[in-house]
């Protein structure tokens, strides 16, 4: 290898691409007729979306008594699913914001799809608390506004209200970030399109021309949005954890919750990004842009955050024992060996044990292992939320009110239905917008393209004296 190229620089764009190749490869999926795989996936996803709508109408019509939640276990699948989806929604902004601040170039291959995934996951998450309210037509009461009821305001001291602010801010800021990044790429699609498609993309690309001043402002905006989204993304799951941590329920009332929830959110978010990326790169043929190096980088994040989560689980148990407080000790004994022991062990296996396989380089770089383990992590993180919520509530202070919880078909339909909603939105997204940030990939071509670095690099790239970037 040459001295001019740092060995830590990985090849992130393969196939000796020119700028035009990048445009072609990334715009084509939005231009040609959908593939058979896409149509099948879309049909399946919309079927589940239909199921979702049916179950929601059922819930609203009959009331949430149709759910299995009861007086003791009053938060059950709904809040489990809510926290699960919100957690998944953390990877997008993490990839686009934190990795932008850290100047991680591999983010360009996956940021667009991850941000889209964030937005769709937050949409799915929002369904659960909204419909759990019961009288959903009064849902607007959660926002403080001058009203004819006094005006009676919301309780600003309640973590549930903090959540309303955190999640709506997160959703809208993620949307701005995603869309502002998308505008130049929509302009690229516009400039290739004709007829009515051109008209549509003209509207959605806001008249972008690529002027130098616009690019400068665009970069300034992206950087500041990244800077403020970084604490935002950390605050969102912190505040979600406050829903539990500020209560007085043994097993919930712990100070470790905020960092542990945030690590878990990043963990599950990356797992979902992996699941989607492995499928997307295959179906859309983007293996040269979402390379094994990208997958490996994300697997490293998974093994790190998975280990943090594992340490948090063990710390919880230790502190419960060390506190000498019998209610706390019982809560955790019950969590491990109680009625829902199977979900605790499912969680431990999927979240703590399984990602440790990623210490092996060959597993980290294997697409099949990545897919398999990412699905396991998704399952494990669902178990984690179920463990925290259902196990804790099932055995509260009064043994006379102890209870057990089983989901009804309505809850199962709503949950699987939100997965349908998520994939329907994602599949539509892959058809209408470039799933990889075209402009950002072009911007790193000369530092991460395989014709410039690595073993495939052309001869002149090895010339340490040459300062000028080689031309293609």
């Amino acid at each position: 290898m040459s001295q001019a190229v740092a060995p830590v620089r990985h090849i992130l764009i393969e196939g000796n691409k020119s700028y035009h190749n990048i445009t072609e490869d990334l715009c084509t999926p939005t231009e040609k007729a959908p593939s058979r795989e896409w149509v099948i996936a879309f049909a399946l996803a919309s079927a589940f979306l239909g199921l979702y709508l049916f179950a929601i109408v059922w819930t609203v019509w009959k009331g949430i008594g149709e759910w299995g939640a009861n007086r003791t276990i009053n938060w059950a699948w709904d809040i489990t699913n809510f926290v699960w989806w919100i957690g998944i929604g953390h990877a997008g902004t993490l990839i686009s914001a934190i990795l932008l601040l850290f100047r991680q170039r591999w983010r360009t291959g996956v940021n667009r799809a991850a941000e889209a995934m964030t937005i769709f996951a937050v949409i799915c998450a929002g369904q659960f608390p909204i419909f759990h309210m019961g009288r959903v037509w009064l849902a607007f009461f959660i926002f403080p506004f001058p009203n004819t009821r006094g005006p009676l305001w919301t309780n600003f001291n309640s973590p549930l209200l903090w959540d309303v602010f955190a999640i709506s801010t997160y959703f809208s800021v993620s949307l701005l970030f995603w869309y502002t990044g998308l505008v130049p790429d929509l302009a690229t699609v516009r400039d290739r399109a004709t007829g009515y498609r051109r008209k549509i993309y003209e509207t959605f690309s806001f008249g972008w021309t690529g002027s130098a001043k616009h690019w400068q402002r665009w970069e300034a905006l992206s950087l500041v949005l990244a800077g403020i989204s970084t604490p935002l993304v950390l605050s969102v799951h912190t505040i979600v954890s406050f829903d539990f941590a500020t209560s007085v329920i043994p097993g919930w009332h712990t100070t470790i919750f905020p960092p542990y929830f945030v690590a878990g959110a990043i963990f599950s978010g990356f797992a979902m990004v992996q699941t989607l990326m492995v499928l997307t790169r295959k179906v859309l043929g983007l293996q040269e842009y979402i390379t094994i190096n990208h997958i490996e980088s994300m697997n490293k994040v998974i093994v790190l955050t998975g280990t943090i989560v594992g340490v948090a689980y063990l710390t919880e148990l230790f502190i419960a024992w060390y506190s000498g407080y019998i209610y706390e000790q019982f809560a955790f004994y019950n969590r491990v060996f109680g009625i829902y022991w199977w979900s605790y062990f499912g969680m431990m296996f999927c979240n703590v044990v399984s990602p440790q396989l990623f210490w092996s380089r060959s597993i980290r770089r294997s697409v099949w292992w990545t897919f398999f383990l990412s699905v396991l992590v998704n399952i494990g993180m669902w178990f984690e939320r179920f463990v925290i919520i259902a196990t804790t509530l099932a055995r509260d202070y009064l043994p006379s009110s102890w209870s057990y919880y089983n989901p009804t078909w309505v809850e199962i339909s709503i949950f699987t239905g939100t997965i349908g909603l998520f994939f329907t939105l994602y599949l539509i997204f892959t058809r209408v917008a470039p799933v990889i940030a075209i402009a950002e990939v072009k911007a790193i071509l000369k530092v991460a393209g395989d014709q410039y670095i690595g073993p495939n690099a052309k001869k002149h790239a090895d010339d340490a004296e040459k300062v000028e970037e080689p031309k293609h």
């Binding site: 001291n157 903090w162 008249g207 400068q216 905006l221 403020i228 604490p231």
Partner: protein, 176 residues
């Protein structure tokens, strides 16, 4: 008022290094570049084009401050004067409990304010027709444009010669 139609002479380059070289040459020859268009943000362009750093982030700070004060003062007003309620024996003005919402609104105002300002000062909105010189500028061409509406034929020839010597791949003139 600016007249509606403008004659623009532009050259397309195949590579950002060619573009930067050409801009340096234009600066040396004291040519007045109207604008430069690129398919992606080219680093190192701002100083040679003489573009000052964007002041967007100052505005971001101001918007954020507004959001921060708005959230904190509104909650303070509501809970101390408009409708004071005791929650769990805590003081009416329970500052720590106001921190999460204050933070969220700071971010919300800064993000929306900056983004809306960005689109406004760039003149980018739905329905705006792109003043695009060439479809390939958003693909793989790097463009330098000169406004030649009022220029003499001699000056135009001079610019064409400039494009020739700086290895522009194409030179065109367009009315827009």
């Amino acid at each position: 008022m600016v007249s509606d139609s403008k004659q623009v002479l532009y050259g397309l380059y195949n590579d950002e290094e060619d573009l930067k070289g050409a801009i340096r040459a234009a600066n040396a020859a004291h040519l007045d570049i109207m604008d430069v268009y690129t398919p992606f943000p080219v680093h190192g362009l701002d100083p040679i084009l003489g573009l000052k750093e964007s002041r967007l982030h100052y505005l971001g700070f101001i918007y954020g401050t507004i959001g921060c004060l708005f959230a904190f003062l509104t909650m303070t007003w509501i809970f101390t004067s408009d409708w004071p309620i005791v929650f769990g024996g805590k003081p009416y003005w329970s500052i720590p409990a106001f921190i999460p919402i204050t933070f969220e609104l700071t971010v919300l105002f800064a993000a929306w304010g900056m983004t809306l300002t960005f689109y406004t000062i760039c003149g980018l909105w739905p329905g705006v027709k792109a003043q695009s010189l060439d479809n390939r500028i958003t693909d793989d061409k790097f463009c330098i444009a000169f406004d030649v509406t009022a220029a003499s034929d001699n000056a135009v020839d001079g610019l064409k010669q400039f494009f020739g010597t700086t290895q522009a791949a194409e030179v065109n003139i367009k009315t827009m």
